[in-house]
C-alpha cells in the first residue's frame, strides 16, 4: 500500500521462472488437494482463535468448583449475576476510570497531534524537518527507558494517581504516531482549497479548523481508533503512575491494571467467575469498536507499521 506501483518492468529480479508446464489434469488435481489443505489450516487457526475466547466467556457462567474440576463442563445456571458481581467488585470502577481518562486523552491527543502535524506539514520554517523527526523518533525508544524519571517528574507535578496526570502522559506518548500519521495526511490534501480559503480572508486558525481538519476526517478516524485502542490497552504507564500514594488515596486503577490485580489476587480469594466476567466486560467494547471499524483498524495499524 505504500509501495509505488510502476507500470513498467513487470519481471521480478532473479532468474526467470522455470518453464516446466504441468499437464492440465495434474494442475487441477494439485488445486483441489491444496485447496483442501489450505482450508484445513485456515479453519484450524480460526478455531485456535475462537475456542479459548469462547471457553473463557462460557467459564464466567460456571461456579468456582466447576471451573477447577474440568475444563469441559457446561454451565448449570445461565445467570447474569456474575456480571453484576464483577461490576460491583471493582470492574465497574476500573471501567469508569479508563473511560474518564480516555474521554479527555483521546480528543486532546487528536487535537494537539493534528495541530503539530498540520504546522509541520504545511508551513515550511527553519527547523521544521528537524522538529518532525524529533517527534517521530519518540516511537523508536522503549518506554522503559523513560519510566523512572517519568515517575518522579509526575510526582514533582503532584499528579501521581490523578486522572489529569495520566491524561497528559497518554497525550505525550501518543504524539509520535499521531504526528507521523497526520503529517502524511495533511501533505496529501490539495493546496488549492487552502489557497482559496486564504484568499477569502480566513485566518490561519480558521482555515485549519473549518477547512483542513474536516478534509482530514478519514485520517482522523484511523488515528482516533488507533489511539483509543492503544490507550485503552495501555498497562505499563498506569502501573507506574496510578498507584495510591497513601492509605487515604483512592484507588484509581484502569481496567487493564485492575484485571491483572484481580488475576493476581486469585491465589488468596478465588472467585474465578468474577475474573472471567471482568475479562468479558473488558473485551466487549473492543469487540464492538473492532467490528464496526475493522477496515479502518486494519488499515490504520498496517500503514502505521509500514513506514
Amino acid at each position: 500500500m505504500s509501495t509505488p506501483i510502476k507500470e513498467t518492468a513487470p519481471a521480478p529480479a532473479g532468474r526467470p521462472v522455470a518453464r516446466t508446464p504441468l499437464p492440465a489434469g495434474g494442475r487441477r488435481g494439485e488445486g483441489v488437494v491444496l485447496n483442501a489443505f489450505s482450508h484445513g489450516f485456515l479453519a484450524l487457526w480460526a478455531l485456535l482463535i475462537v475456542l479459548p475466547l469462547l471457553w473463557l466467556v462460557l467459564s464466567s457462567f460456571k461456579t468456582d468448583a466447576q471451573i477447577g474440576g474440568s475444563a469441559f463442563g457446561w454451565p448449570r445456571h445461565w445467570s447474569l449475576d456474575v456480571f453484576a458481581r464483577a461490576w460491583g467488585k471493582g470492574i465497574g470502577d476500573y471501567f469508569l476510570n479508563t473511560v474518564i481518562v480516555l474521554v479527555f486523552s483521546v480528543p486532546l491527543t487528536m487535537l494537539l497531534g493534528s495541530m503539530a502535524a498540520y504546522v509541520l506539514a504545511r508551513y515550511p520554517f527553519p527547523g521544521s524537518r528537524l522538529l518532525y523527526y524529533f517527534f517521530v523518533a519518540g516511537a523508536m525508544f522503549p518506554v522503559f527507558l523513560a519510566l523512572v524519571p517519568l515517575f518522579f517528574m509526575v510526582k514533582r507535578l503532584d499528579m501521581l494517581n490523578t486522572y489529569q496526570g495520566l491524561v497528559l502522559v497518554y497525550i505525550a506518548y501518543s504524539m509520535p504516531f499521531t504526528v507521523f500519521f497526520m503529517h502524511a495526511f495533511f501533505r496529501t490534501l490539495p493546496t488549492a482549497v487552502f489557497e482559496a480559503a486564504v484568499l477569502d480572508g480566513a485566518s490561519h486558525t480558521r482555515t485549519f479548523f473549518q477547512v483542513m481538519l474536516p478534509m482530514a476526517k478519514p485520517g482522523l478516524i484511523s488515528v482516533g481508533i488507533f489511539n483509543t485502542l492503544g490507550q485503552w490497552n495501555q498497562f505499563i504507564l498506569p502501573t507506574v503512575l496510578m498507584q495510591p500514594q497513601s492509605g487515604s488515596d483512592p484507588e484509581r486503577y484502569v481496567l487493564t491494571q485492575g484485571l491483572i490485580q484481580l488475576n493476581q489476587q486469585q491465589g488468596y480469594a478465588a472467585d474465578l467467575p468474577v475474573l472471567f466476567a471482568g475479562v468479558t466486560i473488558a473485551m466487549i467494547p473492543m469487540l464492538v469498536v473492532y467490528l464496526s471499524f475493522q477496515r479502518q483498524v486494519q488499515a490504520g495499524l498496517t500503514s502505521a507499521t509500514l513506514k
Partner: protein, 311 residues
Amino acid sequence: MRKGQYRFVTGFLLVPVALYLIFVIWPYIQTIGYSLTDWKGQSQTFRFVGLDNYRALFQDDIFLEAVWHNILFLIFIPVITILLALFFAFMLNAGGRSRAGGVRGVEGAAFYKILYFFPQVLSLAILAVLFNAVYRSDGGGLLNGLLIKTGLVDADNPVEWLNEPNMVLWALMVVVVWHGVGFYLVLFSAAMQSIPRDIYEAALIDGASRNQSFFRITLPLLWDSVQTAWVYLGIVAMDMFVLVSAMTQNMGAYGGGPDHHSDVMSTVMMRNFLYYGKSGYACAMGVVMLLLTLVLSVVTLRATRRERIEF
C-alpha cells in the same frame, strides 16, 4: 513566510512540543544521567558513581539470565510469527486458483482476515488472564483438560506449563504468536495485494507452480514488509513485561518465576525500581535496553538488506 504566520506556527506547536518535551524527551535524557548515580528514589540526594551501575549489571546473574531470555524471544518470536503469517497470507491471497487459471484468494478470505486480526485489539492484560486459565496446572485448564481427555497426560500428573523451568518461555511465546499472527497476516496481505496480478499470470502461463510463484515472486516483492515485521516483533520480544509479570510466579514482585527462569529485562528493571527502590540501577537497565533495541534495529536492517525491487 508571511507576517502573522510565525505567531500562528508557534501557537500551534507550543502545547504539543511542551508536553512531548516534559513527559517523553526529558525523561529519556534524564535516565542516562540517573544511571550514573546511586539514587534510591526516596529523596533527591544521590551520589555520582560513574559506571558502577553498569559494572554491577555485568555481574548481576539475574539480569544476565534475563538478557538471555530476551535473546531467545528475539530469535523465536519473529521467526515463528512471520512464517505463520506469511503462510496464511499466501493462502488467503493466492491459495485458490480459479478455473480460468488465474490466481486468487481462497473463499472466505475476508472473514478469516477479520477473525485472525481480533486478538490484536485485545489488551495484553486480557491475554494474560485468558492464558493463565488455559495453562492451569490441573484438569480445569483448557490445555491440560484436552490432554487428559485424549489420554496423553495422566490426570494426577498434569503439565505445569508455567512452573516448568524448561516450559515457561515456550508457553509465553505461544501467547505472543497467537496474538500477533493475525496482524502480520494483514500486513503481508496488504503488501501482496499491491503486487500486480499480471506478474502472477505471466508466471502461471510459464508453468510456475504455487511454490515457485511464492518463492520467486511473492517473497522477494514482500521483503520490505518482512523486514519491518522483524523489527516490530523484535521490539515486542524486548518488552514482554505484561505477560511475564502477570502470568508467571512472583519473585517478590513482577513475575519471573520459577526461580527467574522467565525473567526478562523489563521485569528485572521494574522490580529494582518499584520493589527494591534502586532507581539509579534500574535506569542503567533502561539504557542497556535502549542500546540493545538500537543494535537490534541496525543489525536487522543491515542483515536483511537487499536490492529493492520496484514494480
